[in-house]
Amino acid sequence: MAFEYAPAPESVSIVNIRPSYGLFINGEFVDPKDGERFKTVNPANEEVLAEVASAGPSDVDTAVAAARTAYDTVWRRLPGRERAKYLFRIARIIQERARELAVLESIDNGKPIRESRDVDVPLVAAHFFYYAGWADKLPHAGLGPDPRPLGVAGQVIPWNFPLLMLAWKIAPALAAGNTVVLKPAETTPLTALLFAEICQQADLPPGVVNIVTGAGETGRLLVEHDGVDKVAFTGSTEVGRLIARSLAGTRKRLTLELGGKAANIVFDDAPIDQAVEGIVNGIFFNQGHVCCAGSRLLVQESVAEELLDALKRRMARLRVGDPLDKNTDVGAINSAAQLEKIRALSEIGESEGAQRWSPPCELPERGFWFAPTVFTGVSQAHRIAREEIFGPVLSVLTFRTPAEAVEKANNTPYGLSAGIWSEKGSRILAVADRLRAGVVWANTFNKFDPTSPFGGYKESGYGREGGRHGLEAYLAH
């Protein structure tokens, strides 16, 4: 007899979603002057959650001006230890309102509550705590004796980790003495707007943090705005390239955290069960909406069959469904557009000759869903081995020697992350040395920490977020 899990839904009564939101400019919510409104939906059931303002040119102007005034009159003049205390306050309020943030994140994004509760929101609070402590210690950051803030930072973030990406952007910027205008992703604006309330509760001086919601056009207005001194973007390599081009010839500083197509390399001496857990975590964590996802499994030929059998057994146990159910492993795809992209690339994978497999799994009727999927018989030329799918789709390739594994792993324009599974320490270190990727997880995967720098090589972007290195993006030295 099969044991089924009883539903274990997290209560939504903790969140209070308003029917409509304005822009957060200069410390208060204001109506858009020239922008329209758009709807944000719950991807798990397609119900409209709220109406959100789409910031137009004069809204972005106002937000940048507010950030400039706050920079010139308050924030840059404030001693580091005072800035630190504001950031500590924010970190504490995030902890106090952690469950509310987690539930709202899962509702707006579709990610399992287990992830938003146990990974995203704790990391958000930790990130503010970490950078709070830097605010009054900047001369010790190794960037010269007198590092100075840059001014106004224009920041554009993606929908896959809405609040965590906000923290990665805002915490170091504020600690270094900059003020910010941040644009959350079109499909996931709600936790950023709740964060705006947290700034109010913390009595953060008006204009230090401004949140302008909108789609790509709002982002373009922000990064190209003359009043912005620094641009930070996380998102696709395609858009990153456009931004880098648009900033050419200006004095604006730029950091980019872009796409990836990470190799997760399993050697024949790897502990199979642990490797399988790592592979599953690497590609199915957050529905595969992860730029550093281990989307290319490179497995040594001699253990490929055994490993794939174990992987399929494990995949059959993944629970796909209601993001708010505490037992859910894989939640909803964030949007109809993203679902379409995942479907299209998966169909291309089949038509190019790779073998597709998914465990039997019942998907809810409404909402955006995609079953965990693995492709075997994938070659390096296949599009599913080259392009970022950004969904729960794993491409499996094999290799015979460590040199071949390194060659295949590096055969990509990306260079964000990589995984190595082996019991042999010297092999791990040698392979890690040769992988052209900014984060290498050995015998683990998808681990994040505010003290640990994150960012890519090659076309995965430049600059680091997290750790001492993360400060460099926001300081002149």
Binding site: G240, A248, G249, L256, T451, S452, Y457, R464, G467
Partner: protein, 296 residues
């Protein structure tokens, strides 16, 4: 250079002039285009014909730099430091020649002190080879049972437009920080003052620096550098010597095609004698962070 020669008439002997060529993959070819351009002194006197590099020369230089990258980036930091120090020794041996060339170019200031500063700066950078990872790397105290270490690694092949106004010191101040960390370089020498750069190439090739680590071209910036900026196998671009803002913007935009790391032209004139700090090494370093669980 003709400045050293004496007249054929009278008792003096006729000097043997040097042909100033390109430096690609450890060899000294002429431009494949067969072209050259006249280099004159600050007073307008003929000094030499320098090779006028073409698009093909740029591509050959990039290929040589890519081939050299694997071995140079994997060399031990100690080894790179030894080689760079050897370069300084060779520079010192040619001190008089560099003083002649720098003063012929009329590159401002006292030529002897400029050459001395260039040699000393090269020594300074040589010493960084096995220290930058300690200064710019990090052990990270993550909140869990993990070993977590961040280390700098070279970005790859870096294109450098050498400063125009300071043909030796400016070149040293921009080239040394690129290669000391394990990058390989394709350099466009100062357009109208290329002679010290070519002599530097002769120094490099007699200093155990593997062929291809530094490749040096002479020619027109506006003609050659766009090919470097848009080349998909170049990872970084230092525009120190680009003086035309519109060209610099175009180059930066072209560099975005494969998201090259770009160092923009300086906003204000640079004092190449000043302590440079680590600011010219960091732009062409990638930080790699390795995690591993701890457990008995």
């Amino acid at each position: 250079m003709p400045t050293e020669s004496t007249s054929v008439s009278g008792a003096g002997r006729l000097a043997v002039r040097k042909t100033y060529k390109l430096f690609i993959g450890g060899a000294f070819p002429r431009s494949e285009s067969g072209r050259s351009y006249a280099v004159t002194s600050s007073g307008g006197d003929f000094l030499a014909n320098a090779a006028l590099a073409s698009r093909k020369d740029v591509r050959d230089a990039v290929r040589a730099a890519r081939s050299a990258f694997g071995k140079w980036s994997a060399a031990t930091a100690y080894n790179r430091g030894q080689i760079l120090y050897r370069v300084a020794e060779m520079l010192e041996g040619r001190r008089a020649q560099f003083i002649d060339e720098v003063s012929a170019h009329g590159a401002g200031g006292d030529a002897a002190s400029t050459v001395d500063a260039a040699i000393d700066l090269w020594v300074w950078y040589a010493g960084w080879s096995d220290k930058i990872a300690q200064v710019y790397g990090n052990a990270n105290p993550v909140a869990g049972p993990y070993f977590n270490l961040s280390s700098p690694e070279p970005t790859g092949v870096v294109g450098l437009v050498a400063p125009q106004e300071s043909p030796l010191l400016g070149l040293v101040a921009t080239l040394a920080p690129i290669i000391v960390t394990g990058n390989t370089a394709v350099v466009l020498a100062a357009e109208d003052r290329p002679l010290p750069a070519i002599t530097l190439a002769e120094v490099l090739t007699t200093s155990d620096l593997p062929g291809g680590v530094v490749n040096l071209l002479t020619g027109r910036i506006a003609e050659t550098v766009p090919w470097l900026a848009s080349h998909m196998d170049v990872n970084g671009l230092d525009l120190a010597g680009v003086t035309d803002p519109a060209l610099a913007a175009d180059l930066e935009a072209a560099a975005a095609d494969n998201l090259k790391r770009v160092v923009r032209p300086p906003a204000a004139p640079v004092d190449w004698h000043a302590d440079p700090g680590v600011g010219r090494m960091i732009p062409f370093l990638e930080t790699k962070t390795v995690w591993h669980p701890k457990g008995a």
